[in-house]
């Protein structure tokens, strides 16, 4: 198939960027979206044009690096699918495709489609962990955890930290990402001792990093390639109220 691409090109963080038009010819329906971009880049290199810079790593939908907004939707039109797992059969011959980087103040553009997502790492550093004593490995099942709690925690742990929630949010908020981490840890006994501190530290860090506030549009859940649910945000809010109640413990 032949496609017309409109790709965001930007030389560096401070340079102005703009959409450039490219033709993607001889694209097979079996290719992934990133493979299609590889073909386009191959062509650009042959022509002596600087190839399109984009982030990618595992190409199997788990690393969360392939951050692209395709036709106005983070990770493209398929539900629960990352860009690398999006296949060209979901497009039609002759389609025009707009490819843009994540856009949020907390995610400055490094080059073309690559953004700096360190802000998410800073959120994890602020509280997305449990403090444990190293030493002997504890016995399996020494701490009993109910199945529903374990399931909820594991559902939240599905987050791959790609930042699609931030890219989709009209407020540039990282609430879904933060809520997933807060829920994952708060549902387990190992996470409870630091639960109050965690939710306070992580929400405070969100503001510092320049993310917006959640106003419950639910765009994030719709864009999430891992199906992280906004009910985790309600859980974060409950955890926050509990922390508020504890007089700064």
């Amino acid at each position: 198939m032949d496609l017309t691409l409109y790709v965001w090109r930007q030389k560096g963080p401070e340079q102005p960027g703009r959409l450039e038009q490219y033709r993607a010819g001889n694209i097979s329906a079996e290719m992934s979206f990133l493979e299609m971009l590889d073909v386009v880049n191959d062509d650009l290199i042959r022509k002596g044009v600087e190839p399109i810079a984009f982030d990618h790593d595992c190409r199997e939908g788990i690393c969360g690096t392939c951050s692209q907004v395709i036709n106005g939707v983070p990770h493209g039109p398929e539900e629960r699918t990352t860009v690398c797992q999006l296949h060209m059969r979901h497009f039609r011959d002759g389609d025009s495709i707009y490819i843009e980087p994540w856009r949020a103040r907390a995610f400055p553009i490094i080059k073309d489609l690559i953004v700096d997502r360190s802000a998410l790492d800073h959120l994890i550093q602020a509280g997305g962990y449990v403090s444990v004593h190293t030493g002997g490995v504890p016995d399996a099942n020494a701490i009993l955890i109910s199945k529903p709690d374990a399931d909820m925690s594991m559902d939240a742990a599905e987050c791959i930290g790609c930042g699609a929630c931030v890219a989709a949010c009209p407020n540039g908020s990282a609430m879904l990402f933060t809520a997933a981490k807060v829920t994952q840890l708060a549902m387990l006994p190992q996470g409870r001792p630091e639960a109050k501190k965690r939710v306070c530290m992580m929400t405070e860090e969100m503001m510092k990093e320049g993310f917006g506030n959640c106003s419950n549009h639910y765009e994030c859940q719709a864009a999430c390639p891992k199906g992280i649910k906004v009910s985790f945000i309600a859980k974060l809010n409950r955890e926050f109220i509990k922390a508020f109640d504890s007089h700064g413990e």
Binding site: E100, P170, C214, A222, A223, A234, L236, R238
Partner: protein, 209 residues
């Protein structure tokens, strides 16, 4: 914001119930009863004013912070879930705020159309004639239109605001979320119908003064 919003939703619910006494000819009696308990009236006014100030302050701060966090630079952006109501909360809120000032000047302080005000006219029992004031005013097309337009803003504001307030307070889970979204919209529509029924019915001359 969620807490102040929910308190104001409670007020809006009680207000529409009070208004509906017009249909059974009890508005003057209801108004008289309210006036006879000044502590209740003043406590409500003070609480509502406090709620309003906090709500407006937080909403302006929220909007400014959110605009800064997302300058909306996408050339193409498709919203999958966000609605017209959820994206325009600040504007529907400002319309409601402006209407609130108009409404208080009109029916409470009687600065607008004072000749028709209840403080100037009394009914057969010597009570301020609130009912006649309402009916006389809503026979004017422009006044009815202002009230109905403001209620459209209220409808949109609550269609998002009710469900959003539950989510913010954490009173939500996977099973409840779709129900709360639906119930919030239904409550917003019921309130809208309740409020516009008065100017609409009066203007259509179904109730005569």
């Amino acid at each position: 914001m969620a807490v102040t919003g929910q308190v104001m939703i409670l007020f809006v619910l009680i207000h529409v119930l009070g208004n509906s006494t017009l249909f059974v000819g009890g508005l003057n009696a209801y108004a008289e009863k309210l006036r006879s308990i000044p502590p209740l009236v003043w406590a409500t006014r003070i609480v509502m004013l406090a709620m309003l100030i906090v709500h407006v302050y937080l909403s302006i701060r929220l909007t400014l912070e959110n605009n800064r966090a997302n300058p909306e630079l996408y050339a193409v952006k498709k919203h999958l879930k966000a609605t017209f109501a959820s994206k325009n909360m600040i504007w529907t809120g400002l319309v409601i705020g402006a209407f609130l000032v108009y409404h208080l000047l009109h029916f409470t302080i009687h600065v607008i159309n004072p000749e028709m005000s209840a403080s100037m006219n009394v009914d057969a029992l010597g009570r301020p004639d609130v009912s006649a004031m309402v009916i006389a005013n809503f026979q004017t097309f422009s006044i009815s239109l202002i009230y109905i337009a403001a209620m459209i803003a209220l409808l949109l504001h609550l269609a998002h605001g009710i469900q959003s307030s539950f989510q913010t307070l954490g009173l939500n889970n996977d099973r409840m979320l779709p129900l709360i979204i639906k119930a919030g919209s239904i409550v917003a529509v019921i309130l809208f119908m309740g409020y516009i029924s008065i100017p609409a019915i009066i203007f259509l001359e179904l109730i005569k003064g």
